[in-house]
């Protein structure tokens, strides 16, 4: 009994590094895509606006599972490019959550008061300086709580990668299910706890970033005690 418990734990824990890799890769891609597409949604060029809008609506309008299957099973047939499961997973996680992140960035940039733009222009800032030195530092403070929720959604989505045999936590659990039919409760409870701990780690990091970002623009940092209990409901 206890031997198998140890085996179950060690097998599931082996799934943690791939889960973390997929999450970290997905988050990195999400951030890049959000900060490219978010401002693009507000671009003065109609073509840029249309392209970014199509990306955002297309990725938000279809199911993540379909996107994953499409990238993993259809793309190789169409262009002959077979991706490694983990890379296909990171790509889908990033593309999908990047579309949601773009809306977060757009909303936060738009929420910066008009007067900030005018002041920056009056002081002779170039448009790029205005964006990077005046608007974004203020917008980032607004973005961090919704990004926290988005990253937790992304972490949860990594479980989908078990469909394409990435050896992450959920996939490890399914491998165990075949041989440990009498201990399914143990298997799934441990899985859930592992995901919960990873989610708490994300929230912990994001809260720290929130404190730094709000201090930098001279606002009162958010409450340190509220690690559990998100500010807003999830975005995805």
């Amino acid at each position: 009994m206890f031997e198998s418990f140890g085996y179950i734990v060690s097998t599931l824990v082996k799934g943690v590094p791939p889960t973390m890799e997929a999450t970290a890769g997905g988050i990195a891609l999400t951030i890049v895509l959000s900060f490219i597409t978010g401002p693009a949604l507000l671009s003065r060029s109609r073509a840029v606006r249309v392209v970014s809008r199509v990306y955002v609506e297309g990725l938000r309008g279809t199911s993540e599972v379909v996107q994953l299957f499409w990238l993993y099973f259809v793309l190789p047939a169409l262009v002959g490019l077979q991706l490694v499961p983990l890379y296909a997973g990171v790509l889908v996680l990033g593309l999908n959550h990047g579309a949601y992140g773009a809306e977060i960035v757009r909303g936060a940039v738009q929420s910066v008061p008009r007067a900030q733009y005018e002041a920056a222009t009056a002081l002779g800032f170039t448009p790029a300086q205005r964006m990077w030195r005046v608007i974004l530092p203020q917008a980032v403070v607004e973005m961090l709580p919704p990004f926290n929720n988005l990253f937790i959604q992304l972490l949860k989505s990594t479980a989908l990668l078990s469909f394409i045999t990435v050896p992450e936590i959920a996939n490890q659990g399914e491998l165990l299910r075949a041989n440990f039919g009498s201990q399914l409760t143990t298997i799934y409870v441990i899985e859930l706890v592992l995901y919960l701990l990873l989610a708490l780690a994300i929230t912990f990091v994001m809260r720290a970033l929130e404190r730094i970002a709000s201090k930098r623009v001279g606002r009162r940092p958010p409450d340190r005690a509220r690690l559990l209990g998100h500010a807003a409901p999830g975005s995805a």
């Binding site: 309008g61 279809t62 199911s63 989505s157 999830g234």
Partner: protein, 219 residues
């Protein structure tokens, strides 16, 4: 390998049958989420501190863990431990319903908190019994403005129903998978499955956005 129209039309009826299942699960799951979410939101405001705290922990736990693992948990763990054996479809409805109830409970909570204090005070001044305060004063004001947010969660749920293929529900993606495996041709089934999602969820999200503006104007 290009696009084969005749194959696409051959698998389309199957996909549409699957889409019907997807819609069915989404509608039933939403009803569970709307009802259970309200119950959770009210329990969260309970004066019994332990109860309120427990509900909060439950909501956070459900929201921080993957839906897929929750589906497996309901499907594989519940029957042997409780003796209740649910069909894949019912398991799916319950799993989606409970998962999204955690989100909708926060929506209701925000809606209830947005009701002005004066309304509560007036109800107290009129000496209304507690259940009439809720049913006659607070909820009629709180519920209309949460409708768009609930709609958004229904759209999210719609896009997450394909997870149920893991326990054998024949939704649109599972149909596409079967058709693809049968002919070893995945391009058309998966592409069309994706388009079907877009076809339903994009108009739905436009509708919700319009609703949002209308609710926004009223308050």
């Amino acid at each position: 390998m290009g696009w084969d129209w005749s194959f696409a039309f051959r698998v389309l009826p199957d996909l549409l049958r699957g889409l019907l299942v997807t819609v069915e699960v989404t509608v039933l799951g939403s009803l569970v989420a709307y009802a259970l979410g309200l119950v959770l939101a009210l329990l969260r405001r309970s004066r019994i501190a332990v109860l309120s705290r427990l509900v909060q922990l439950f909501v956070e736990f459900v929201r921080s863990t993957p839906l897929l693992v929750q589906i497996f948990f309901l499907f594989y763990v519940l029957p042997p431990t409780t003796g209740i054996k649910l069909s894949p479809l019912v398991t799916g409805v319950v799993a989606l319903g409970v998962h999204y109830a955690a989100y909708t409970s926060e929506v209701y909570r925000a809606g209830i908190e947005a009701v002005p204090r004066g309304q509560w005070e007036a109800a107290t001044a009129l000496n209304l019994p507690r259940n009439r305060v809720w049913i006659g004063v607070v909820l009629p004001q709180a519920l209309p403005r949460v409708v768009p947010a609930l709609g958004n969660y229904t759209i999210s749920m719609f896009k997450e129903t394909p997870l149920l293929l893991a326990i054998g529900v024949l939704d649109v993606v599972n149909r596409a998978k079967e058709a693809g495996a049968e002919y070893y041709r995945f391009t058309e089934p998966y592409t069309m499955a994706g388009l079907l999602f877009l076809l339903v969820s994009y108009p739905a999200s436009v509708l919700v956005r319009r609703l949002e503006r209308r609710v926004g104007r009223q308050h």
